[in-house]
């Protein structure tokens, strides 16, 4: 809401303005004690560059903006030994370490994105030194410019639709069905095998119906949000490892939405959530994200 950068609340160092001088001297490329240059993102030259010292990988220097023509790379000097191919493979294979790295990366990207259009780089984009970064980013400057134009003034939103277990059982436990499911008991004395199978079948049918209506609901969500978006990317829905056993993810889509339309998004989602056909369906929204999913395009949404 308020657009001035806050100073940190307590004794922590105030947000460091472009702080190249504090970086450890990026010295000889090889050998112990040397530094590699980690690239988090690329932004424009008018980026205010107030990157808090709180971000970046632990053990590295402060974040800084490296000039590459009219672009700026958000970089950090990191200990080369910890970011060699072997070290990385080992570290990223370790769950806790991977999470730390991912969060450090995301934290720096997010901090940079707060200052203006920012193209995120994938995790572990590393160079032997600043010169190598200049060469690589410079060689791709057109791609970066296009991407920056595309995402300027826009942000990524993630919308996920879930079918909940509660929804399924609430509907399938229609009066009169249900009881026969008592575990370890066959059909009761008054229930023929045929009745039993019929009930099973109708319950199955209800479950399918519910799934169908949830899919229809997801489509409705997508249609509504697409209207606000300039581009979309559909992702594979998360499995039960992520969602938990009691809900099934049926839609996982990212949308690129103009910053001044985020309230419309909130309103749209609120309206959908409240509508009766969304019983047993949950809509999760997260954002605004730095536009991770739209740096290389994304499917164009119908309405600009």
């Amino acid at each position: 809401m308020n657009s001035a950068p806050h100073p940190s609340p307590t004794a922590s160092p105030s947000p460091v303005a472009p702080a190249p001088t504090q970086a450890p001297a990026p010295a000889p490329v090889d050998g112990a004690g040397s530094w590699a240059t980690y690239v988090f993102a690329v932004c424009r030259s008018d980026h205010p560059g107030s990157l808090s010292a709180a971000f970046g990988h632990p053990g590295g220097g402060p974040l800084r903006l490296l000039k590459v023509g009219s672009l700026r790379a958000v970089v950090q000097d990191v200990p080369a030994a910890e970011f060699s191919e072997t070290a990385l493979r080992e570290r990223l294979g370790d769950a806790a370490e991977l999470e730390r790295c991912a969060r450090a990366h995301h934290g720096a990207v997010t901090a940079a994105a707060a200052g203006g259009p920012t193209v995120p780089m994938p995790l572990a984009t590393l160079y032997l030194g600043d010169e190598r970064v200049r060469a690589a980013v410079g060689a791709n400057r057109e791609r970066f410019r296009l991407a920056l134009d595309r995402i300027a003034g826009r942000a990524e939103w993630a919308v996920k639709v879930h079918l909940t277990q509660a929804g399924t059982s609430a509907r399938s436990a229609a009066p009169g069905t249900g009881e026969t499911a008592a575990p370890g008991r066959g059909p009761g004395p008054h229930v023929s095998g045929r009745d039993y199978l019929d009930r099973l079948r109708s319950r199955q049918h209800l479950r399918e119906q519910h799934r169908e209506s949830a899919l229809a609901a997801a489509e409705q969500v997508d249609t509504a949000v697409r209207r606000l978006a300039v581009a979309t990317v559909s992702r594979r829905p998360h499995g039960p490892e992520v969602t938990g056993k009691d809900r099934t993810q049926i839609m996982n889509t990212a949308y690129l939405i103009a910053e001044d339309r985020s309230e419309e998004l909130t309103a749209t989602i609120g309206r959908l959530r409240a509508s009766p056909e969304f019983g047993g369906v949950e809509i999760d929204v997260s954002g605004p994200w730095a536009p991770y999913s739209f740096t290389d395009g994304g499917e164009l949404a119908g309405h600009p």
């Binding site: 707060a114 980013v137 490892e241 997260s286 740096t295």
Partner: protein
């Protein structure tokens, strides 16, 4: 003011770093403009990583349910944690003073200090 202040230079609220891990991973692992780096892990490795991750995330969720949330309590990752760390230290100091006042020095060893606890567990 609030713990969010140092995360978002403004409250346009890009998701805080405590955002859902799965969401972060699906973004930082395979999105963004890919340019050839000098040092890199190849895409196959990343694929394998994401598979391993799906298994790992479930353990994170389990850990969360059990109240283990180091990523939210690690001072390096969260300013709230830095705040909590002070609070925790304060609490531990108070406990320690209380213990020292009440007991003899032998018992002071059993005061829960992070380091001490780790020592005990290792034995």
């Amino acid at each position: 003011m609030t713990e969010l202040d140092s995360w978002t230079t403004e409250s346009r609220s890009h998701p805080p770093a405590t955002a859902n891990l799965a969401e972060i991973l699906e973004r930082v692992l395979d999105k963004g403009i890919v340019i050839a780096g000098d040092i890199k892990i190849d895409l196959l490795d990343i694929e394998l990583l994401t598979i391993r991750l799906r298994l790992f995330i479930s353990s994170v969720e389990t850990a969360k349910k059990a109240g283990i949330d180091w990523w939210e309590t690690d001072p390096a990752l969260s300013s709230r944690a830095a705040h909590d760390a002070l609070y925790e230290e304060n609490k531990q100091l108070r406990e320690r003073i209380e213990a020292l006042e009440g007991e003899d020095s032998q018992d002071a060893d059993s005061i829960p200090r992070a380091g001490a606890r780790r020592e005990l567990r290792r034995r």
